[in-house]
């Protein structure tokens, strides 16, 4: 993302030393080693975990959606905060946000690649695409987005953001990355929303809901990145920026809650089984605790309390953003799996029509599925750690 303000507007930043490169690298390697066997089982034994023919998408697709929300949401909120709220203290965070977005994107692409029955045929989506399918749009927009972010980050790496010719070019990339990001989120929401066969997805305004979710989740991550990696750390601007972000974050959580509540009520009120069944599964199904305890408890209530009472305390802002991110991990999974985990209206008999462990509506992610997810997180962490060390730090050192 191009910086348009002058470098003198910000006090000389103290370079961020809190990131312990070695600790982070070690964590990434541990994650990769832990997840490697799961990936091996997918690639060599061609296993697909607990997925079944009736619940064909599960944890991996959920994690993919979550990472995409983070990646796009963070870039969008960065742009909105800088452009409309003029939060100057975020200016130097641009390469960090971009690097985090690329890291999340690579993790997302990896986990969704593992979900394919033939992962090595992914090239067909590029060379023989069906643009009538939202999935093709998703793949192409993802690639475009990755290209734009990489080009921007490369410019930071080469320290070219302050050369006028590059500045124009980077501003152009920044501006086109915004509509592409919005389109990408809408397309992913639409990918589920257009499936008329799945009333729970079809009844929710998923493109819009995904957009709101992405903004809130992205804001949570951006706040956390600011607290951990902002080069303004130690200056008064650091704290002011954090408090400003916390206010916006609180508002965004409330808006997100109102939108979800409205959506839920529209589905639940008529109590038509086809539509309400998915919602019932979310609220009272076997994984009720993921929504009530993890999402609403840890992810919403705790941040609301922290940000309302201790709104100026950095520890409270940091804890609130961590809690929100942890609580939010369960949201996409709670949209995708309940939409699939019950027979479609008038087809209830299919449940017992033919017995096989892969012809069932019961789905609980297997250990190897979690391993693949940890591996994807390891990839993201590794890219972020190495990128921070070799791209972001030199950039900050050179310019400040």
């Amino acid at each position: 993302m191009a910086s348009t303000a002058t470098a003198t507007a910000v006090p000389a930043p103290r370079l961020n030393r809190t990131l312990d490169y070695r600790v982070s690298l070690t964590l990434a390697v541990i994650a990769l080693i832990f997840g490697a066997y799961g990936v091996f089982r997918v690639l060599v034994f061609k296993e697909h975990g607990a997925l079944t023919s009736y619940v064909p998408w599960g944890l991996w697709v959920g994690v993919y959606v979550f990472l995409v929300w983070l990646e796009v949401g963070m870039i969008l909120t960065y742009f909105l905060l800088r452009r409309f709220l003029r939060i100057e203290g975020l200016r130097l965070l641009a390469p960090v946000a971009m690097l985090a977005a690329i890291s999340a994107l690579l993790g997302a692409l990896f986990v969704i690649g593992m979900d394919l029955g033939h992962p090595f045929r992914f090239w067909k989506a590029y060379l023989q695409p069906n643009f009538g399918s939202l999935m093709s749009w998703m793949i192409w927009l993802h690639t475009l987005y990755l290209g734009i972010l990489t080009a921007e980050l490369f410019a930071y790496f080469r320290g070219k953001v302050y050369v006028d010719r590059w500045k124009i070019y980077l501003n152009f990339l920044t501006y086109i990355s915004i509509p592409i990001g919005v389109l990408l989120i809408a397309v992913i929401g639409g990918l589920f929303g257009v499936v008329a066969a799945r009333p729970f997805w079809n009844a929710s305004v998923l493109p819009l809901m995904f957009f709101i979710a992405s903004l809130v989740a992205g804001l949570g991550l951006l706040t956390l990145l600011h607290l951990l990696f902002s080069p303004t750390r130690g200056t008064p601007q650091y704290e002011t920026t954090a408090i400003q972000m916390a206010r916006v974050f609180l508002g965004a959580i409330v808006i997100g809650m109102i939108a979800s509540l409205a959506n839920g009520l529209v589905i639940a009120y008529p109590n038509v089984p086809a539509y309400a069944e998915g919602l019932k599964l979310v609220l009272f199904g076997p994984y009720w605790w993921t929504i009530w305890i993890v999402h609403l408890g840890i992810g919403v209530l705790v941040p609301l309390v922290l940000l309302s009472i201790w709104r100026t305390r950095l520890w409270a802002i940091g804890t609130a953003s961590v809690c929100y991110l942890v609580g939010f991990t369960m949201v996409p999974v709670n949209i995708i799996i309940p939409g699939l985990a019950y027979p479609m209206p008038t087809m209830e008999g299919i449940k017992d029509a033919f017995y096989h462990s892969k012809l069932t509506f019961d789905y609980t992610p297997m250990f190897m599925e979690w391993q693949v997810v940890v591996f994807a997180v390891g990839i993201s962490l590794l890219v972020f750690t190495v990128g921070y060390r070799y791209i972001v730090e030199p950039y900050l050192r050179e310019h400040h």
């Binding site: 061609k46 023919s53 029955g117 033939h118 009538g132 066969a197 008038t346 087809m347 012809l359």
Partner: protein, 332 residues
């Protein structure tokens, strides 16, 4: 082919001549259900039951060798029809009484349809729910025909209990792929791996499919299953028996069941046995149905059995409200 004037096989009641031979069974007593009869009623006696079983076994013993012999002779004559369009010229001729058989009539209509250009055919399946006994013969014959691995099923039979005790009944609904006219599974495929053929069958290219499973989520009938590469003997002392490695001939190609290679890792579905149609044969589920409950043919042929059946008022289609316009009709 000798064409003979055949009597209308479908009476106004929607019943086929196959049913005409035995007299209409007596109405079951009101207190009898599929699960049995209440005390005091007189169901079939043990003696009568044993006599019927004995006569069926005897009949099979007599008929089976002649059927096998006929089959072997056909092979010796080179009259087998696996070779594609050969049946068009040299198909066997049917005697008049044979033509009264519903299967033979459908077979003849199928061959007639196969002589037309593909875009002039409109394949339709009709399933008479009043006749389906829920025996799953079609499910199994489909698995055998297409060498389906564990966890893949093209034609399960859904069982539904209707009513509350003591007024209960059981309805069995076979569910093949509906070959929808406006198939929601087709436009969602990101790589054009599934499409509608000119004759209406939803085709698949296993080598093109990336296994994203989007089409599975889009199908309102749960008609697509994923080939996870399971074998029936997995976990047994002798896994991967040779019979599990026999290739299937779906879509006119040889598909070996092998991990990492198509059709493993792909989405699979019923295709009305296109490979059999090309050889002038009826789909397996049609010929294996013990209750003659499944009919198949070209709805564009006004004289065909299916065209007659779907013009009746007692036909329904599943989830009609979705506008998918299935090519599978049910008679109720």
């Amino acid at each position: 082919m000798k064409t003979t004037a055949t009597p209308d096989p479908v009476e106004a009641t929607g019943r086929t001549p196959v049913e005409e031979a035995p007299p209409e069974p007596e109405q079951a007593p009101a207190s009898c259900t599929e699960r049995g009869c209440a005390a005091g009623e007189k169901p079939m006696g043990r003696k009568r039951f044993l006599a019927q079983v004995a006569s069926m076994v005897g009949l099979s013993a007599v008929a089976l060798p002649s059927l096998v012999r006929a089959g072997l002779e056909a092979v010796a004559d080179g009259r087998t029809e696996e070779s594609g369009a050969g049946f068009l010229k040299d198909g066997p001729e049917f005697e008049e009484d044979e033509a009264a058989n519903i299967i033979i009539r459908m077979q003849r209509e199928l061959r007639k349809a196969m002589r037309k250009p593909i875009e002039q055919r409109k394949w339709v399946m009709v399933i008479d729910l009043r006749k389906c006994t829920g025996c799953n013969a079609c499910t199994i014959s489909c698995i055998a025909e297409n060498h389906l691995p564990g966890g893949v099923v093209y034609r399960p039979v859904m069982e539904e209990e209707i009513g509350t005790y003591p007024n209960v009944s059981l309805r069995s609904t076979p569910r093949p792929c509906m070959q929808c006219e406006t198939a929601p599974c087709v436009p969602v495929c990101p790589v054009h791996a599934t499409w509608i053929r000119p004759d209406g069958i939803i085709d698949m290219d296993y080598d093109q499919c990336i296994g994203c499973r989007y089409c599975m989520t889009a199908c309102p009938y749960h008609a697509r299953t994923f080939d996870f590469g399971y074998s029936y003997t997995e976990g047994t002392p002798e896994p991967d028996q040779p019979y599990e490695k026999v290739p299937s001939f779906e879509y006119g190609k040889r598909w070996k069941q092998q991990k990492g290679r198509s059709p493993t890792g792909n989405v699979r579905k019923c295709h009305f046995c296109t490979h059999k149609l090309d050889a002038g044969m009826l789909p397996s589920c049609v010929t294996s149905c013990i209750g003659y409950a499944t009919y198949f043919g070209d709805a564009n042929d006004p004289d065909s059995l299916v065209a007659e059946l779907i013009s009746r008022g007692n036909k329904i289609r599943l989830k009609e409200e979705m506008g998918t316009r299935p090519r599978v009709f049910y008679l109720i």
